[in-house]
Symmetry: C2
Subunit: 390 residues, 2 copies
């Protein structure tokens, strides 16, 4: 019997069933560092440590031991199905007689690096793509294509195996392709777990007989992974190593209180402000301003880069959007959304995109609340349209 | 204090730290079904159940309770950062005074649905994209673009929220786009966890004082999720529901012993066969056959669809590739790779792609072993080239 076990990113994030499966196994096979990180759990077990790159050997040994009647734990860090040992084992199993893959294999999924890294950075994920930059057996052209397509489709991009001492080129191409396809101010979260992994070696033994085993297991202190958030144009090779995971934000990802956040659409319940109601009555009658309204006593009320503020949407049809990636923000202590620092709705490209579809949605002023979801979809569409690098 | 907790896909796959955080929380806030699934852990805690769609309300309540000094568990199934509660909380936190996001929030990642589903299907993952088909607040055009780009870049594609009683169109477009961009025989794994979730309601209470709590916690039997694997052209709306996760294979994904497997590149150590050595000596001298070698006594030794077998690579420069997606296979009980049922290397498009680069790699016969990694990269490149739908 072979248990393909995901250890997760560190001790405290192992699953109950993975821990149980480890305890029930006779033989533990895996990469040195990962075995060392849980050595206190592995007393009186047969341990087979292998180096990086010996994946096939690990799989062959696991199957032979299983055929001998042993219960084998074949371990990966993170999730064994994500660039882990599961694929390798399934590729070679057919070589063996007396090994029944249907009865003799069980996979224990683990928390993968993208999920762990996201949990340390804040809430950066939405639709996402996970890509390994290892070009040892994958043509660089394939990796480049995945990076480019994921970027153009505005996926959040999680990068595994970004770099090694001898493998720099894929990382350099990764940055170049992003610079060609994204805003240079796109946020990138960097999570470095190398210290963590090293520290995991130095765990003292556990008294397995103790009652509250997990509390004890958890009590092993670990150095938390180092995290930082940079903009794409400031992404430096020096800050990246083999144990780093990168999470590239999409066109809506923003930074708040040091957290990397990608907004998930939601409806903020609200009434229409009387002045907005007045404005949209005029708008629907075709009597609202078009372009910069320089006759307005408040013009320009927003400080635009190009100095030209489009006043077509003097009041925002999407108010309150609750999306801080626009520069808008909640007024602390009040349930009020402030658009003071949002310029987006007053930009030429935005006005053009919104006008294209707004008239199909907005037939009367009440539609501003009744058709809120349609409006928020139009808003999201124009956010991507206007922020996507042409 | 707010613990944003991922429960994982089911009880046995919860992490140690998530379980510990649940125990330490005073207030549990979440979607009804998820709370019911762990009710036996929540005695003497304040429980706040909310319906689907009440995400903002859940976040607001969590923050108010935290400000009152309570320790709150805000729960999501799977991973809270993947279409879960983490993003929602970070979007609204700025509304509140007396809430210090840096001190008052901790996220506990969980095993996400893509990792759990993969573990039940076999080893289908490689570079992958995760996409939600919910178009309630996301324009369908954005979802369509992500599906198309992920498909054209040959990502494995994991689909969350594929369908609901009232939301069918995104799923229909998903199938249409894949049919336009992929081989109709592309494999799709279907994992349905609805039974599992329902069953989880009926868990009896646990005696928390018991010593071996986890064993007891795990002993709760669950109906395993239903899994099946179909080809794209046979994907039926009737087989999909709200609790289904789909995993779409890439151009190399194959089925063996009922498992869905995407090969991860690896080097099979081997010597060159004397006949292959003889062949490549001729090949390098420009004396090997070009196109169908009808004068050969064995021609055609492979049964080609178009009846035309290209003999340019009478012996495969990539032998042994160990990749069953070609039709090749391990001879059981022997460490021998058989190419009997592989037609790929004898197809016109393959020969064309391989020849384009082979001569830059192969300068002498020994390069067949010395430059194995370069050869395997070329092979992988041509696999994608020849299998990618034009």
């Amino acid at each position: 019997m072979i248990n393909i076990i995901g250890l997760g990113p560190n001790r405290e994030n192992i699953t109950l069933s993975a821990l149980e499966a480890l305890e029930k196994s006779d033989v533990i096979i895996g990469y040195k560092k990962y075995i060392d990180s849980i050595s206190d759990l592995l007393e009186d077990k047969e341990i087979i440590k292998k180096g990086m790159g010996d994946e096939i050997a690990r799989g062959d040994i696991a199957i032979s031991k299983s055929i001998q009647g042993k219960t084998v734990a074949l371990i990966s860090s993170g999730d064994p199905g994500v660039f882990g040992m599961a694929n390798v084992l399934f590729q070679i199993m057919a070589k063996y007689k007396d090994f029944d893959s249907k009865k003799d294999i069980k996979i224990f999924p683990g928390v993968s690096s993208v999920n762990y890294s996201a949990s340390l950075l804040g809430a950066p994920l939405h639709d996402f793509a996970a890509i390994s930059l290892s070009d040892i057996l994958t043509p660089l052209s394939e990796i480049e294509k995945k990076i480019e397509y994921a970027s153009r489709a505005d996926f959040i991009i999680a990068i595994y195996n970004p770099i090694s001492k001898t493998r720099k080129k894929p990382f350099r191409r990764f940055k170049e392709i992003l610079m060609e396809t994204k805003d240079p101010k796109t946020l990138i979260g960097i999570v470095d777990s190398s210290e963590n992994l090293n520290k995991r070696k130095n765990t003292e033994n556990l008294n397995k007989k103790e009652k509250n085993k997990n509390a004890n297991f958890l009590s092993k202190t670990e150095i938390p992974s180092k995290t930082s958030v940079v903009t794409l144009d400031n992404l430096n090779e020096e800050d990246i190593n083999m144990s780093t995971t990168l999470i590239v934000g999409n066109s809506s990802t923003y930074l708040q209180d040091g957290y990397m956040i990608t907004p998930r659409g939601y409806v903020v319940k609200s009434q229409i402000h009387p002045l907005s109601e007045e404005f949209y009555t005029k708008y629907l009658a075709g009597e609202s301003p078009i372009g910069p309204n320089e006759t307005c006593e408040y013009y320009p009320c927003h400080d635009m880069e190009d100095g030209k503020q489009q006043c077509d949407f003097c009041y925002c049809p999407f108010y309150p959007c609750g999306d801080s990636s626009t520069g808008g923000e909640w007024i602390k202590g009040k349930n009020v959304w402030s658009c003071k620092d949002c310029k987006w709705i007053h930009e030429e490209a935005t006005v053009e995109c919104v006008k294209k579809s707004l008239n199909n949605i907005l037939e009367e002023v009440d539609d501003l609340t009744i058709k809120k979801k349609e409006l928020l979809k139009l808003r999201k569409h124009c956010i991507s349209e206007t922020r996507r690098k042409k």
